[in-house]
Amino acid sequence: MHRFSLSRAGDVATAIAAHAHDPALAFIAGGTDLLGLMKDRAALPERLLDINGLPDMARIEALPGGGLRIGALARMSDVAADVEVRRRFPMIAEALLFAASGQLRNMASIGGNILQRTRCPYFRDGDDLPCNKRRPGSGCAARHGLNRNHAIFGWSEACVATHASDVAVAFAALDADVIVRGRHGERLIPFGDFHRLPGDTPQRDTALKRGDLIVAVEVPAQEMGRASHYLKVRDRQSYEFALVSAAAALATDGRRIRSARLALGGVAHKPWRLTAAETALRGVSLDDVEALESAIATSFADARPLADNGFKVELARRVSLRALQIAGARA
C-alpha cells in the first residue's frame, strides 16, 4: 500500500469538519472495502480517520411500532444475528448472511457496506484500462468488453457497472432512510435517492458530499416486514457476489397480495426497485403463477441487456417470482 497517516476521531463534529476540509482524507470503519481499493490503487487517500470510536453509532435499536434503527458502525454479523431484526425483517438478516464471509461480516460496518464500490473488474484492475469511475474521461472498457455480470437497467455509455451490496437491495425495497450528518446538521436521504445512476459522472456513486457521515439506517415500521425474503443467485453457492438477487416483501389477504415491495440487485448501478410490478401485483393471487409473471414483466419493458448478459433478463424475472413465492409462504 501507499503511505498514509492514520488518526482516531473522538467526536462526530470534529470528524465531519476534518472530512469537509480535506479532500485527501477518508473515513475508515471496517476497512474491508477501503483497504482492498487501496491495495489495488483504486483509492489513494493521504489521511485515514478511524471512526470506530464514535459514540452511539454501533447500536441496533428496535423502534416502537415495529421499525429499526441500525447504527452505521454496527457490524453485518451483529445485525444479522439480532433477534428483532430476524423477527421483524427476515430479509435484512438474509441479505446480510448471503453476503461476504463470516470473517468479513464480523468486520464490515453497515455504513461501509452500502458505500462499497463496484466489483467491475475493469474498475478494480490495477492495469491502465479505461474506466470512467477510476479515471473520469478515460472511457468504459466494459461497455464493449467482458460484461456478462454488468447492468441491464439504467446504465449509460460512460458506465455499465452494478452495485454489489446485498443489504442495500433489502433497504431499498423497505423504503429505508439513510441518516446523514454533515456540515449543516442532520438530514435524511430516502434509500432510493442514496445511490445514483451513472449518467455522465459514474465516479460519483452516491448523493453524499464532502463532510457527510452516515450515522444510521432507519427502516420504517410496515406490515410487510415478516413476509419477506432475499433470494440471491450466483456463480457459486456461497461467498460470491450476485448475478441477480431479489428482495421481496408482501402484505396479503389470505393468498391475495394486498401490497408488495420488490427490488433487484446485480442488475444496475443501484438497487433496482420494480415499482411498476409492485403496482401490478396488487390483488394478484399468490397461486396464480401466470398473473404473477405478467405483473413482474411490467417492470422489464426498459431492460437493456449488454452483449454478454442477456440471460440476466430472464433470470431476474424468475428470481423475482421465486422471491415473491417464498415471501408469500411466510405471510
Binding site: 503511505r3 488518526s7 482516531r8 470534529t14 485515514l48 470510536g53 444475528a81 430476524r86 427476515p90 456461497s238
Partner: protein
Amino acid sequence: MSSRTKPIPEADEAAPLSVSLTVNGRPRTISVEPRTTLLDALRDTLALSGTKKGCDRGECGACTVHIDGRRVLSCETLAAMQEGRRITTIEGLEEGGRLHPVQAAFVEHDGFQCGFCTSGQIMSGVAMIEEAKAGWPSAATVDVARSRTLADLSNAEIRERMSGNLCRCACYPNIVDAIAEAAAGKR
C-alpha cells in the same frame, strides 16, 4: 479537537505509530507504519508466522485470526487500529502443550494436505463454533426468525459458515468432519 483525538502529525504523517495490544495472552507494544496490516505485523514484527498470507485481498481466509474472540481477516485489518485489542493466532490456541479440540480433530480427520490454509481454517472453525453456540443463523438457515442452538449445526451449515476459507487441496469433506466432531464435543 477533543482530548480523545490524536492530532495528525505535521512533520512525517506516515511515521510509525506505537500500538499496545495483547497477542496470545501476552501484552505487546509494537511500532508500525499506519499502512502495516495486522497480518504483516504478526508475521514480520512479532515473528508469529503461523498466520499465512494467501491472497492479501480478503478472498481466501488463510490469514484468519481472532480479535476480541471474533474471527477476522488480518490482511484487511490495519495493525495501528488495534490499540487495546486481544489478538489470538494459531500459536495461541494450545493450552499447556495440549492441542485445542479443533486442532486435534483436524489431525484425527486428516483435514489438510499442504497445510497452507490450515491455520486460517482452524481459527475460523473455532470461532464459528462459538457463533453457532450463540445462536447466530447463516445463509443455510431456512427460517432465520427461529432461535437456534449448536444442535442445529448440520454439515450444510458448517460448509456455508466455513465458505470464507478456501482450500487449494480441496480437503473440504475432512475439514467439515473435523469441525462437526469438535462441535459435537462442545454440545
